[in-house]
C-alpha cells in the first residue's frame, strides 16, 4: 500500500472515509456530541464529489430523509448519539419494514436523557437491537479501533445493500474521538457491494417478491418502476394487506433475512482464546482494555483469552457457546449497568460462570479492573478447594472532574 495513504485520524473521520469508500452519496443529520464530526466532514466532503448533504430539523427528519434518498437510488447515511438515536427509532423500524438500505451511526454517550454528553458509554447495545417496536431484524457492528471503524463502515453499507435492511454502526465516544494511524485502501482493494436492481420489465416488478429468495431486487424511484412502499404490512407488490397469512409470512421473512445469514454476518476476533481458562467477552473500547489485561495476565501465568464481537447483532451465539464449553468463567466488561452480559449468559447456558464488570462514571473500564476481576475469579475457583481469601482490589481510581458541556 502506498505510503502517502497512511494517515493519522479520528474515529469519526475514519467513519466518513469508510462511507465515501463504500459509495455513500447522501448524508442527512442533526448535530449531536460526540458524533458531530461525522456530519461536519460529510458536509465538507460530499459536495466535492457531487453528493448530497443536508442538515435536517431533527433526527426524526434525518432518518426519514436518508430512507427517502435511498429509495431515490443513493447510498445514504446519518450519524447521531443517544438522544438522537432515541428519536430515530420509529424511522428505523420503517426502514426495516420497507427494506430500504441505509446506515445509521450511533456514537454512544452517557445516558439516559441528556446524561453526560461528552462522557463515553456503551449503554445503547440493547436499544440498537430492540429500540424500535415490533419484531424486526437488526444488524449492528461494533468496531474497536479507528482502522476498524473504516472497514466496518464499508461493511455496514455492504450488508445493508445485500440484505436490504438498515445497518447500525455502534461505537463509543472514545473510539469515535480517538486518533490512530490508518491506511485507507486503494479503490477496489476492499469489496464494495451495491443493491441488486430488478431486471424485469417495470410492469412485472414487485418490490417484495420473494419467489426467488428472501431478498428481492430494489428499484429506484424515477427509473420507470412505479412501485409502492408502505410501513403497513404489505404483499409482494408493496400494497397493504390484511391477509393474516401474508402478515405472518412477511414478519417471519424479515427476521429470516438476517437469521439465515448470520454466519455470513458474524465477525469476531479471538485473542489467546484457544487455551484460555478464563474468557472475556468485550466490545468497543472495553475490548481494548480487555486485550491489555489478557497480555498482563498471561505474563502472570493466568490463561485469559478474549472473544471480541465485531458484529454484535445478530448476537454471536455460536462463538459464545464454543467459548463457554472451554473456559471456567466468562467476564463481560461493559460501560453500562449490565446489558450484553445477559446475552452472554443466555448463550453460555450455564456451562460456565458469567460475571459482568460494569462502569457508568463515564470513565473507561481499566485493564486493572478486568485483571482484578479475573484474579478474583481464579482465586474463587481455587478457594473452593483451599479456602483462600477473596481478592483485595488493587484498583486505585481517581475521581475525574470534567466540565459539563451540554452537547
Amino acid at each position: 500500500m502506498a505510503n502517502q495513504k497512511k494517515r493519522f485520524m479520528q474515529g469519526n473521520e475514519a467513519c466518513t472515509e469508510g462511507a465515501f469508500y463504500a459509495g455513500c452519496r447522501f448524508y442527512a443529520g442533526y448535530p449531536i456530541t460526540p458524533s458531530t464530526e461525522v456530519m461536519e466532514i460529510c458536509g465538507t466532503r460530499l459536495p466535492k464529489v457531487g453528493g448530497v448533504f443536508i442538515q435536517m430539523e431533527d433526527e426524526i427528519a434525518s432518518i426519514c430523509a436518508i430512507v427517502g434518498a435511498s429509495l431515490g437510488g443513493l447510498k445514504a447515511m446519518t450519524a447521531t448519539s443517544g438522544p438522537g438515536f432515541s428519536l430515530m427509532q420509529e424511522g428505523l423500524g420503517f426502514a426495516c419494514m420497507t427494506e430500504v438500505p441505509c446506515v445509521i451511526v450511533n456514537v454512544m454517550r452517557s445516558g439516559p436523557s441528556t446524561g453526560f454528553p461528552t462522557g463515553p458509554s456503551q449503554s445503547d447495545v440493547m436499544q440498537a437491537k430492540w429500540g424500535t417496536h415490533g419484531d424486526h431484524p437488526a444488524i449492528v457492528l461494533s468496531p474497536a479501533s479507528v482502522e476498524e471503524i473504516f472497514h466496518e463502515t464499508v461493511r455496514a453499507f455492504n450488508l445493508s445493500e445485500i440484505y436490504r435492511t438498515p445497518v447500525i454502526l455502534l461505537y463509543d465516544e472514545i473510539i469515535g474521538h480517538m486518533r490512530e494511524a490508518i491506511t485507507i485502501p486503494e479503490p477496489g482493494a476492499v469489496e464494495v457491494i451495491n443493491r441488486v436492481a430488478p431486471n424485469c420489465p417495470p410492469n412485472e416488478y414487485k418490490p417484495y417478491d420473494n419467489k426467488l429468495g428472501d431478498i428481492a431486487p430494489l428499484a429506484s424511484y424515477g427509473d420507470g418502476y412505479r412501485f409502492h412502499v408502505t410501513g403497513l404490512y404489505h404483499a409482494a407488490d408493496g400494497f397493504p394487506t390484511n391477509n393474516t397469512k401474508m402478515i405472518e409470512d412477511a414478519a417471519r421473512r424479515l427476521l429470516r433475512k438476517v437469521d439465515d445469514n448470520k454466519e455470513r454476518i458474524w465477525k469476531n476476533e479471538e485473542y489467546f482464546l484457544d487455551d484460555a481458562e478464563i474468557g472475556i467477552f468485550a466490545y468497543g473500547v472495553s475490548a481494548r482494555s480487555a486485550k491489555f489485561a489478557v497480555r498482563e495476565l498471561r505474563k502472570k501465568g493466568i490463561k485469559a483469552g478474549l472473544l471480541r464481537p465485531i458484529t454484535i447483532w445478530p448476537f454471536p451465539d455460536a462463538a459464545v457457546e464454543e467459548m463457554s464449553k472451554r473456559v471456567k468463567a466468562i467476564i463481560v466488561p461493559e460501560m453500562n449497568l449490565g446489558q450484553i452480559v445477559y446475552e452472554v449468559e443466555r448463550a453460555a447456558k450455564g456451562r460456565c460462570d458469567v460475571k459482568g464488570i460494569f462502569r457508568v462514571d463515564t470513565e473507561p473500564i481499566r485493564p486493572i479492573q478486568i485483571m482484578d476481576c479475573i484474579t478474583g475469579a481464579v482465586l474463587a475457583l481455587s478457594e473452593a478447594k483451599n479456602g483462600a481469601k477473596p481478592p483485595v482490589s488493587t484498583m486505585t481510581e481517581m475521581m475525574v472532574e470534567r466540565d459539563m458541556i451540554d452537547g
Binding site: F26, A28, P47, K48, G50, V52, I54, M56, E57, D58, I60, A61, S62, C64, A65, I66, V67, G68, A69, S70, L71, G72, G73, L74, A76, E90, G91, F94, S220, Y221, G222, D223, G224, R226, F227, H228, V229, T230, G231, L232, F239, P240
Partner: protein
C-alpha cells in the same frame, strides 16, 4: 370510487364531449378505497388527478409521498412512484427523495394532523427551504383515521372525541403558517369548489419552490356526526361553501363581513431561490475550487 358523485355532475355535464378518464392514473385492483361515503378526500383526488393530467407530466416523473391518516392513503391508489411513510414525516422522506432524484416532481398528500401537529416541525422547515414540492393539506379539521379527535385546525367550540365539551384551543391557519414559514406559493381550495381546486393544484404543481394548498374537505363520519351536520352535502355547503370567500370576493367585503371566513384561491405567490438549484450551485462552486 364512492365519492359523492352528485357534486361532480355539473362538471361532467359541462365537459360532456370528453369525459375525463381517470383509469390511467388509478392503480389496477387497488379499489375500493378505504374512504367513507361522503368523505371529501376522494373529491380532492379527482381534482388532483385532473390537474396532474393537464400538466402533461409523465407518471414516471411524479412521486407522491404521504404520512399516516385517511388522506395519506391517497398514494396507494394512484399509479406514480408512491411512498406511504410515518405519521407526520412525509415531508422529511420527500426532502431526501427530491435531493436524491431532483427530476421527480414531488406531491405530498397529508392531513391536518399529519402536517400541522406531529409533522408541524417538518412543515415549517419544508416551507423555509423552498424545495420544489407541492404539499396538499387535506384539512378536515379532525383526526379521521383514529376516529375523530381534535386536530390543530379544529375550530374553537367544535366537538371531537378528545374535545367532548368543545375545543378551547385556537386553531392554526394553514396558509398563514405556510406563508410565514416561507412557502412561495400558498393557496386554499375546498372539495366543494372542485373545479377551482383543480386549477389551484395545477398552478401549485407548476410553481417552482414549495407550494402549499390548504384543502378544506369534510369528514362526515366523525366531524360531521359529532357536530350535528345531517348529511355530507350539508357539511360541504355550510363549511366549504358558506365558510369561505374567494380572494376576489374578499376584496369587496368589509373586515366585519370577512370575520370567520377562510380565503379561497391563490393567497400568496413569490419568487425565491429553489433549494435543489441552490444546492447544485454550491456543488459547482465547490468543485470549481478543487
Amino acid at each position: 370510487m364512492s365519492t359523492p358523485t352528485e357534486e361532480l355532475k355539473p362538471l361532467a355535464k359541462k365537459k360532456k364531449k370528453v369525459p375525463f378518464n381517470y383509469e390511467p392514473y388509478i392503480r389496477g385492483g387497488k379499489l375500493p378505497h378505504i374512504w367513507c361515503p361522503g368523505c371529501g378526500h376522494g373529491i380532492v383526488l379527482k381534482s388532483l388527478l385532473r390537474a396532474i393530467h393537464t400538466t402533461g407530466m409523465s407518471k414516471d416523473d411524479i412521486a407522491m409521498v404521504s404520512g399516516i391518516g385517511c388522506s395519506s392513503r391517497t398514494p396507494g391508489y394512484v399509479d406514480f412512484n408512491t411512498l406511504h411513510t410515518l405519521h407526520g414525516r412525509a415531508l422529511a422522506y420527500a426532502t431526501g427523495l427530491k435531493l436524491a432524484k431532483p427530476k421527480l416532481k414531488i406531491i405530498v398528500t397529508t392531513g391536518d394532523g399529519d402536517a400541522l401537529a406531529i409533522g408541524g416541525n417538518h412543515f415549517i422547515h419544508a416551507c423555509r427551504r423552498n424545495m420544489d414540492m407541492t404539499i396538499l393539506v387535506y384539512n378536515n379539521a379532525i383526526y379521521g383515521m383514529t376516529s375523530g379527535q381534535s386536530s390543530p385546525t379544529t375550530p374553537q367550540g367544535m366537538i371531537s372525541t378528545t374535545g367532548r365539551y368543545g375545543s378551547i384551543e385556537p386553531p392554526f391557519d394553514t396558509c398563514q403558517l405556510a406563508q410565514a414559514a416561507g412557502a412561495t406559493f400558498v393557496a386554499r381550495g375546498t372539495a366543494y369548489h372542485f373545479q377551482e381546486l383543480e386549477k389551484i393544484i395545477y398552478e401549485a404543481i407548476l410553481h417552482k419552490g414549495t407550494s402549499v394548498v390548504d384543502i378544506i374537505d369534510a369528514c362526515p363520519t366523525y366531524y360531521g356526526r359529532f357536530n350535528k351536520y345531517k348529511t355530507p352535502s350539508e357539511m360541504m355547503e355550510k363549511i366549504e361553501k358558506e365558510g369561505t370567500v374567494s380572494v376576489k370576493q374578499a376584496e369587496k367585503l368589509t373586515p366585519e363581513e370577512l370575520q370567520g371566513k377562510f380565503l379561497r384561491g391563490i393567497i400568496h405567490r413569490s419568487e425565491r431561490p429553489e433549494y435543489c438549484e441552490e444546492y447544485n450551485k454550491l456543488v459547482a462552486t465547490v468543485q470549481a475550487k478543487k
